[in-house]
Each structure stands twice: as C-alpha cells, then as structure tokens.
Point group: C2
Chain length 340, copies 2
Amino acid sequence: MKTGKHPRQISARAPTLDDVARTAGLSSMTVSRALNTPQLVRPATVAKVMAAVTATGYIPNALAGGLASSRSRLIALVVPQINNPMFVDTIQALNDALAQRGYTLLLCVTGYSETAEADTVATILSRRPDGIVLTGIHHTQTLKRVIMQAAVPVVEIWDMTPTPLDMLVGFSHEKAGNCLGHFLAQKGYSRPALIWTDDRRGRQRKQGVIASFHQHGITISAESSVPLPASLQLGREALAALLDSGTSCDVIVCSSDTLAQGAIMEAQARQLSVPQQLAVSGFGDLAFAAWNQPAITTVHIDRAAIGHRAATLLADSIAGLTIAEPIIDIGFTMVERDSA
Amino acid sequence: MKTGKHPRQISARAPTLDDVARTAGLSSMTVSRALNTPQLVRPATVAKVMAAVTATGYIPNALAGGLASSRSRLIALVVPQINNPMFVDTIQALNDALAQRGYTLLLCVTGYSETAEADTVATILSRRPDGIVLTGIHHTQTLKRVIMQAAVPVVEIWDMTPTPLDMLVGFSHEKAGNCLGHFLAQKGYSRPALIWTDDRRGRQRKQGVIASFHQHGITISAESSVPLPASLQLGREALAALLDSGTSCDVIVCSSDTLAQGAIMEAQARQLSVPQQLAVSGFGDLAFAAWNQPAITTVHIDRAAIGHRAATLLADSIAGLTIAEPIIDIGFTMVERDSA
DNA sequence: TTGTAAGCGTTATCAC
DNA sequence: GTGATAACGCTTACAA
C-alpha cells in the first residue's frame, strides 16, 4: 500500500499492533496491555504476544501512543549550548537518569539569546513533552506565559531564585562569587584582577566577587571581559593584555577553570611563578583543575547532581507525586589547591 | 473536560486545529493548509487563520501531525557519550544545521557498549524518526537488521568504510594513525611510547601508528592503556608510570589531545623539556592544542564538518533527493606545532 | 482476563 | 481555494 520513502529500501509499512494481534489470535487491546501492563494479562497470553511481536518484528509507534495517551515520554532540554564543559556533565547525568525511567531527551539549543529561546518553545511544545528542563531562570515573558499555559512540569537549572517557574535545581551564583572573594581576600590577596565572560550567570558571580572584596576594603584592579565560549586561548590572551597594560595585581580571578588554565599558562610562559608572583583562581572544578600544574584553586559545582536531581524532580512531578521541595540548592564548595 | 496533569496548573485542554478553525470560521483543513502550505491558500484566508492562531494560543501537536503524515521531523542521534570534547562539536553542528531545516534532535546515549546500542534502537525507532545518525560503523547484527527494515535514512559518522549501512561521513582512523606515525618517524623519533584509550576507533588509529613506525624499522618501546574517558589526569599518570618503569622513549604518542596535555604537564613537572628531551603528540586538535605551552602537535579533524555534512546528507535523503556521494571522507590534517 | 467502540489531533485524498 | 471524510496506530473507558 505504502512504500518506504527511502529509496534504498523496499519495505511494506511497519507492523502495527493489529498485525501482532492477528498473528497472536488476540485483540489489539490485549496486545497493548500485554506490552504495557503485563501484570493485568494472563502469563500465557503475554507469552503468545511476545512470540507474535518477535515474529512480526513489531516496534510500537510512540507517536500514536503519545497522541492517544497524551503522554509522550519526551523531556525537552533547553540549553544555551552543548559544547560547554559545564553543562555537558549535567546533560549526561540528566539523560542517564531519564533514560532509566523510560524518557527520551529532546535537545534544544538556544545559543544564549532569549529571543531564540522564546522561538524554540513553540517547537518544543509542539512535541508535547511530558516535562521541560530550562537552563537558567531568565526567560522572556512570552516564554513564561506559554510554558505555564502548557501546564507541563518545568525544572529550571543552574541558577537560584525564590520564585522559579515551577521547580528549580541549582545554586546562587552571587553567593558562590561571594564565597570565592572572601576566600581570596582572607588569603591576603589585595590587588585582584578579573578575567570574565559576560553571560548572565557569570555577571552574578562577578558581583558576588566584587562585593566581598569591597567588604574587605579591596577594589578590583582591572577587568578583562572575554567572549563566550571561554577557552584556554582567551585566558592566555586576557592575562597577556592585562600584564602588558601594566596592571598591578596579585591574583587573577577567572570566571571559569578553562580561563584560569589559560591564565596560568600565560603566566608560566612569562616566567611568573604561580601562585608566588601571581595567583589564579577558577570556577567549576572541571576534571583538569585538580591535575593542572599547579592545581587550580576553584569552586566546585556538582554538575552531575544538577542533572540527576532535575530528572528525579521531573519524573516525580509527572508521576503526579507532590514535590516536597521544588527548590533544590545544590550549593558549591570552595576548593583550595595550589594556584591561589 | 480534561484537566492538566500538572497540579500547579488549572488549564483546559490545549487548543486544537478545530478550535482555530472555529474561531476563524473556516474548516480545520484550511487552517492546516494555511499553516503548512500557505501558498495554496488565499492570503486573506491565511491572515484570518493567523489571527485565530494568536487568539487561541494554538500550538500544533506534532505527535498527531507525525502520525498522520508519517513524518516526525525528528532525527535520532546515537552517541557513546556526550561529555566527549570530540563529539560535542559534531553534535552542536549537527543540531544547528538540522534545526535550521526544522528538525529536532532526539538524544540517545549508549555508553560505548554495543548491546546497549541495540536496545536503544527499539526506543529510537518507536519514535519514528525521519533519520538516524549513528556514531561509528560497528553495530550488532540485530541493530543493522532492524534499522534497515525500518527503511529510515541513516548516516554513520566518525569512521570510514566502503560498506556503510546507508550513508557515511567520517575519515579513516587507520590512515590518520599512519600519517601521524610517518610524520613522527620522519622527524627522527625512534623510540615511541604510546598512551592510548582502548576504544574501537582508537585501536584503529593505533594500528596505523604502529604499522607506519614499523615501515621505518621502528618498534614501539612501551604502551600504556588508559580507560575512557580520557583526561589530563590519566595522561599525567600514564606518563609517570611509563617513566617510573624506566621506559626509554623519545616521543609519547597519545590517542587524544587531552592525554597529550596531561603527558606534557607531567613531563614539565619532572623538569623534562618538551620536545627537546621528550616529544608528545596528540590527536583531534581540540581548542586548547594550539594554545598549550608548548603548542601540541596533533592531527586536526574538522569535527563540525562531520555534523554539518551529516545533516545535509540526511535532510537531502529525507527530501527524496538522490545522494550523489553517500560516503564522505572529510579527511584529516597533520598539524605540526611545538610539542613534537 | 479479554474485547469493543470511540476517540486523540492531525494530514491525505478527493470532491466541490 | 476550500471543505468533507477517512485514515494514522494507539489508548481510554466501558462492557462482557
């Protein structure tokens, strides 16, 4: 009747539930039950169904199933970018936890622009996901309205606010910045310079850093703003520019470990010993931070935990459970190593 | 009639095509056409439809659309892991190119095990994707059979074979290894040691390296096998073990830039100058390779091109175009820098 | 425990 | 150019 659209293949239409039912000598409803709720079907019948499934090579059509049940078992993940070492561990953990519960991830990359995010949402919602994971807490009004209207469980991640759209897993970037600033000030650094990416969460951390230094009567000596994505190259170049412009500083506070690694490398290339002549701090505690030479003093974020807990929250919410704590602060940990 | 399953929301069912049709005073079929093929509908009618869409807040149901049209506009991506700096750029490029054409990525992570891949495939196919991207060319028989049966366009990526399932974008790892080996041998290195991850494509590259050294009458001095995922730590530790065991070598050939960076760092920690006392080579040309100190001699792979071309192949194939070149070798480039 | 009937929200097809 | 009708393949709800 219908032939595959793919030229390389001559195949009849895929077997349906009815085909399985026919070969099993049962009704399609019984087959459906045997597949989805076998405990409601006599074992012998289940066995017959399984045999028929194998015989026909049946693969359920989730499009039809989702339409009928209005449960798609799809979770939409909205991230600014995937090639970001920070997010990628969260995504992996999220995916693993979700896959285990039978959900599949729909990947939606917005590229750090809010308008694109709003656009994306229509695309996402058209897929009728059972849940949505949104990176960050700043969204356009349209997005908020449309999402709330859709009545889909939502988890915002990687940030903190008392008023999330629905649920939230993250931490306060301002507090993390604060913690880092205090730590460095208390270690005696008094002429800090910043190498920073200008994204929203980065800016919050920066405010935290600056505020805490101020509390110690310290002002920022200089600041270098670098574009996203952060890289070793940008870290090196930023420090080079800072040093060449004659900035006097004793610690370089970087908005990420990657920038810190670059800054350290540039310092070493200039025969500056780290941390003796110039200290450097990072953020994120990426895998290399502990093994860099010198090991990078940084702020540890449990990136996988964000993904894992977001998955749990979402799955529970979809299951209709009451979420006792819809706001989860996973916090952060100051990690003192050798670079500062 | 039906209430949202999400407790926080009291919302009626989402507006359907019929709702839009009713408010616009048209048939649902006309609304569908106005949305999908506006050129077949009178402009005035299209305008009426658009107004009704806005008024109702209509968002199409892709589940229903996909079921009816048997086009899901979903592309399934199967990768061993996302938190791999090699794949992640490919994924990003693939996603971007696909999103532009109206496709959404379904993310399926298999974790380097072939059996898991076979399992995953049922999950994937149940979603009725319009196309599938498979990482690698080694799959279980079941997977091959099931996929071919599904008559879905498939692109295998990141490898090379004259007999792909369907289409292919990648390069020969063996040749890449060969090229690297020749390069190093010709530079005069004669006592190579290997630091290598034991994945399938890595093994192929290793064979290439070993074979080309052999052609120059050189045998591998020593080899350290490290688990996945590669990391700076593993690179350091592997070199440390190699050196501590008294291995005599003049170049460390690493299966990835990440390992190379670690090896370089360990060498420097031991006051060994790179490349004078010990040379190190990597693979992949990750962003940091060019800016490392010393810059890493490596093999460049255009990772984004793999994703981009895979997307084009898939989209064309879905569109019913005849694919002139279903096998695309994107090749590789030897990049001589300072570390070897 | 199994079966029947009626949707789910779209699009294909054919008629007007 | 627009509309009526019948799928698409499954699940819900109810009957047996």
